[in-house]
Symmetry: C2
Subunit: 131 residues, 2 copies
């Protein structure tokens, strides 16, 4: 039997001034797609809707991922970490790309010898045609 914790998930929004990091990971391949932030309202909306919903720090508002691009994230599983201050979403990335620059993952650049950056992925879409 799985071990149940009787408590409701209580995320530590207060500890961090209201925002927690949320990692989105491809639910099939394990690839890390992006990191964004959640406030309590975006956490509740994610739970309710089953679609990844973040808080945009630049626009200062709730951000349903894919609302502009159509590249939504269907939430398949949610994990929270031991400190209750990071969320991990296992998602089905609609359109195959999470990054606004057209790549599957926002982590498309590798640090080479600590000194330069190499693009190690291929673009999935042309951002100029989507945004």
């Amino acid at each position: 039997m799985p071990e149940f914790d009787c408590e409701k998930p209580e995320l530590a929004f207060k500890k961090t001034g209201g925002l927690l990091p949320a990692i989105a990971q491809d639910y099939l391949t394990g690839e890390v797609l992006m990191l964004a932030y959640m406030n309590e309202a975006s956490w509740e909306e994610t739970i309710k809707s089953g679609m990844a919903t973040y808080y945009s720090r630049s626009r200062q508002k709730l951000w349903k991922k894919g609302e502009t691009s159509g590249h939504m994230q269907v939430v398949k599983e949610i994990r929270i970490d031991c400190d209750n201050d990071t969320v991990l979403l296992k998602v089905d990335q609609i359109g195959g790309a999470a990054c606004h620059e057209g790549y599957k993952s926002c982590f498309f650049r590798k640090v080479h010898d600590g000194e330069s950056l190499v693009i190690v992925e291929k673009k999935v879409f042309d951002p100029e045609k989507v945004y």
Copy 2:
């Protein structure tokens, strides 16, 4: 040929008050192990030493992962995201466990129906014997 970016990796420490989130991922399985924070000194130490080094927000000092437990993280690859404000470390997790509670991953709890938490992993070590 891979596409090189001539710039040195310039992380956006200034944008965020000096700390950036860093995700540690198992370099073989893709499992997300933990999220911690880096300041500029820990970033430089990670590059220099090849061992994951974070900044402990609670202890307010550089934190070489595994310095107490022996569960160090050998950095196999570093990615940075499109906004230069998140680090992804692909690591070889020494001892097979990243979490101070004894699990491989800090994300050992799954949110069930949005209402409760289920422990979905097995302990790798007994924390009382390590710390």
